[in-house]
């Protein structure tokens, strides 16, 4: 009879990296479905290529590093692949998707040592890389065609892009000022696969909250900050600034707030830190959208806040049990 001499505790909760990663993947499915409905086969193509490329490249790196292949099954590479796809337009050439996957897994994740060590969200690193390298392909959006599965596409602008153009040409926000929210809510607009369909994405986000895979801190503080700040600007001058509801449902805000900013590895670890992080993401997003050169700022905002995570973590350490509170220490 030989027994295991493992250290305590001898019982563990059933939550593992896998349950968390696949939980996020499940939560992304409604959003992905909306993408597939409006962009058809192209959307499916981008998602499939992205996921397979991420898995293949992860396997390659693991092989080179002489490691076993078990991390392939933890769901993180699949999730990165799906998230990357959600950040791309459906008409992007396949080889750009592959390049994005290589950057996400290689530069975004594995150079740092794999899951747990990367400072930046891998899918966002890849998106920004593609945006800078191939600005035209990354910003010509196919016009959505509900439930049509033809491969040819006409390109158009995203609501945020249209607003920026109108601001520059006309000096006002144009159609954004009183655009109906129905289309962006259900996904009937131009954009990347995960930029449309705010409702489906929020639904996935609620699922994550209910299953306790994420906490409210980041999404709520992120969304509230964007809503509050754009609301103030809109009240000041509705000619120059679109209403807060418009900002909430357009662009990658829902995807970013629920799925990208909440990435465990690259966001702070305490509730207080997460709120600071979420507010930071919100402020940066609003500044980039309203005053920056790009119509959309969610990705840049999250990446910038990723860089701030270590500092946030350092200054939000909880007070240890049995030590004086800051107030007591001063007294």
């Amino acid at each position: 009879m030989s027994t295991v001499l493992a250290p305590s505790p001898h019982v563990r909760s059933s939550v593992t990296i896998e349950t968390a990663m696949y939980g996020v993947i499940i939560a992304l499915l409604p959003g992905a479905l909306v993408g597939a409905c409006f962009f058809g086969l192209n959307a499916l193509k981008v998602m499939t290529i992205s996921i397979i490329a991420c898995l293949l490249f992860e396997a390659m790196v693991l092989k080179i590093r002489g490691m076993d292949m078990s991390p392939l099954k933890d769901g993180s590479a699949v999730l990165t692949g799906l998230l990357l796809a959600m950040n791309l337009p459906s008409n992007i050439p396949w080889w750009m998707v592959v390049m994005g996957a290589v950057v996400a897994i290689g530069i975004g994740k594995q150079v740092y040592g794999g899951l747990g060590y990367n400072p930046f969200n891998p899918a966002l690193v890849a998106r920004v890389f593609l945006l800078i390298s191939f600005p035209v392909a990354m910003t010509s959006w196919p016009v959505p065609k509900p439930l049509s599965f033809s491969l040819d596409t006409i390109t158009g602008a995203t609501p945020l892009g249209a607003m920026k153009t109108s601001l520059m040409m006309e000096g006002n926000v144009g159609a954004a000022a009183n655009m109906s929210l129905v289309d962006p809510l259900i996904g009937n607009m131009g954009g990347s696969l995960g930029e449309i369909g705010a409702l489906a994405l929020a639904l996935g986000g609620i699922y994550l909250l209910v299953r306790k895979i994420i906490t409210w801190h980041i999404p709520v503080s992120f969304l509230a900050t964007v809503f509050g700040m754009t609301g103030i600007y809109w009240l000041i001058n509705p000619e120059l600034y679109a209403p807060p509801t418009f900002h909430l449902v357009t662009g990658g805000l829902m995807l970013g707030a629920f799925f990208m900013a909440t990435d465990y590895v690259t966001s702070p670890v305490t509730g207080k830190g997460m709120v600071i992080f979420g507010v930071g993401c919100g402020v940066l997003t609003v500044f980039i959208r309203l005053f920056g050169g790009y119509p959309e700022g969610v990705s840049f905002a999250i990446l910038l806040m990723n860089a701030a995570t270590p500092i946030i973590d350092r200054y939000t350490r909880p007070r240890v049990f049995g030590y004086p509170t800051r107030k007591e220490a001063r007294a």
Partner: protein
């Protein structure tokens, strides 16, 4: 009043043996009375090989202030004083007694104080001479806990009947079956330290025990508090925080906030020692987990080998993959059943192959779960990674010594990290660094 302690987890409570009344066992043919059954210096043997001893006879005396006396659990012959198996896995010197089956007892009427006519000081001596240690797991000498210095007045005694470890039901049964013994001991403890108030703390998964205690003859100033089920609520500092909102300062003891915590089993043993003159020679333990044929709660003589407990109750259903001395959260894995029941043995759990989830330790994914459950408000993930990467010099700054090793962090960790092992290693490295 009932507050809540910070952090904590909800392991499945698995209290399968709570309906099993405490029963006795056939005596073993050999008793292993380890000289280290408590925190502190080992006891000093007072008998020699070949001596005949009587039940309750002192066979070892305390080896220091924080140390304990030992008594023979039954009459018999001292066969050896030699290194013997110990739950820690090491060999520790023990007095080996071969019982003669007569169970002949030493007359201790002179030690008993049935009418409680003697002074609290005298009771405290009896507690020490009776070899009583905390029975909840840590096995700290009880008389030391009941001796706070003058400048630390105690206003409250807590009778700890929380029993927050999954599977263990010994305290639960004791509360159901011997409430008066527990309350008798609680009364004595209040008198000894001069506390006017006392609380019997019980988790909500034992409503019957709370009911029994409430209906019992509660001494003046004693209340019964039912607390929500949450691990590690039975840990002294967490229990005090939940009951009173007071925080024991770092490096301090419950007495620093005017509280003394005593496990309900300890209180019952104290009561017997003082009123009847019976030293601590037996205790209740739970035999649990999926593998034993006779899971339940048993009154066992100290020194009985765990294998005897298992055999007497019908053996195991199959080969054991994991044996645990104590509860599943803080108990220690055993290599076998040779070691004896000690004063701190609250339970023995046996699991077969595949009954506990197989762990695969991976890198921390910074999910923050460990931080939100840590009752000490530490950063377990940081401590774990620092030890993993041998960055020992920063451990103190991250308060590693405030860790109570409750295992909540490891319980929730999705990356299956062995946080408690890391932390123990880190503490040991710090000690080594300080020694240099």
């Amino acid at each position: 009043m009932a507050n809540r302690f910070r952090g904590g987890v909800h392991p499945d409570d698995s209290k399968h043996t709570s309906k099993q009344a405490i029963s006795g066992l056939q005596p073993a043919e050999r008793l292993i009375l380890s000289l280290s059954q408590h925190i502190g210096a080992p006891s000093r043997p007072e008998v020699s090989v070949g001596d005949r001893v009587l039940k309750y006879q002192p066979i070892a005396s305390p080896g220091g202030f924080v140390s304990m006396a030992l008594h023979a659990p039954t009459s018999g012959t001292v066969k050896a004083i030699e290194p013997a198996p110990h739950p820690s896995g090491r060999l520790v010197t023990a007095i080996i007694i071969e019982p003669d089956g007569l169970d002949e007892a030493l007359d201790r009427t002179d030690k008993a104080d049935p009418g409680l006519a003697r002074s609290p000081e005298n009771w405290k001596e009896t507690i020490r001479d009776s070899g009583i240690v905390g029975m909840g797991g840590a096995a700290f000498p009880t008389h030391v806990k009941l001796s706070p210095p003058e400048d630390k007045p105690i206003d409250m005694i807590v009778a700890n009947g929380v029993e927050c470890e999954p599977y263990l039901t010994a305290d639960h049964r004791l509360m159901l079956e011997s409430p008066d013994e527990i309350l008798g001991g609680l009364f004595l403890a209040m008198k000894i330290v001069g506390a006017k108030k006392a609380v019997v703390a019980i988790e909500a998964n034992k409503p019957d025990a709370a009911e029994v205690m409430r209906k019992a003859d509660l001494p003046e100033g004693v209340t019964v508090e039912v607390l929500p089920v949450m691990y590690p609520q039975g840990a002294e500092k967490q229990l005090i925080q939940a009951l009173t909102g007071r925080e024991v300062p770092t490096g301090g003891l419950p007495m620093d906030v005017g509280v003394v915590v005593q496990n309900v089993g300890t209180l019952a043993t104290m009561n017997q020692a003082i009123k009847e003159g019976r030293p601590m020679v037996e205790r209740v333990m739970t035999l649990g987990g999926p593998l034993p044929n006779g899971p339940g709660n048993y009154m066992v003589s100290i020194g009985t080998s765990l294998s005897h407990v298992v055999e007497q109750t019908g053996g195991l259903k199959g080969p054991a993959a994991r044996l645990i001395n104590g509860g599943p959260m803080m108990g220690q894995a055993l290599a076998g059943l040779e070691s004896p029941v000690t004063k701190g043995t609250s339970g023995l759990l046996a699991f077969g192959p595949g009954e506990l989830r197989t762990l695969r330790q991976r890198a921390c994914i910074r999910c923050g779960s460990c931080i939100s459950v840590c009752p000490a408000s530490l950063l377990p993930h940081t401590l774990g990674s620092m030890v993993e990467f041998r960055l020992f010099n920063q451990l103190r700054e991250f308060n590693i010594t405030d860790c109570i090793e409750c295992g909540s962090c490891a319980f929730v960790c999705p990356a299956d990290r062995n946080m408690v092992q890391f932390i123990r290693q880190g503490k040991a490295e710090l000690l080594a660094l300080a020694g240099k």
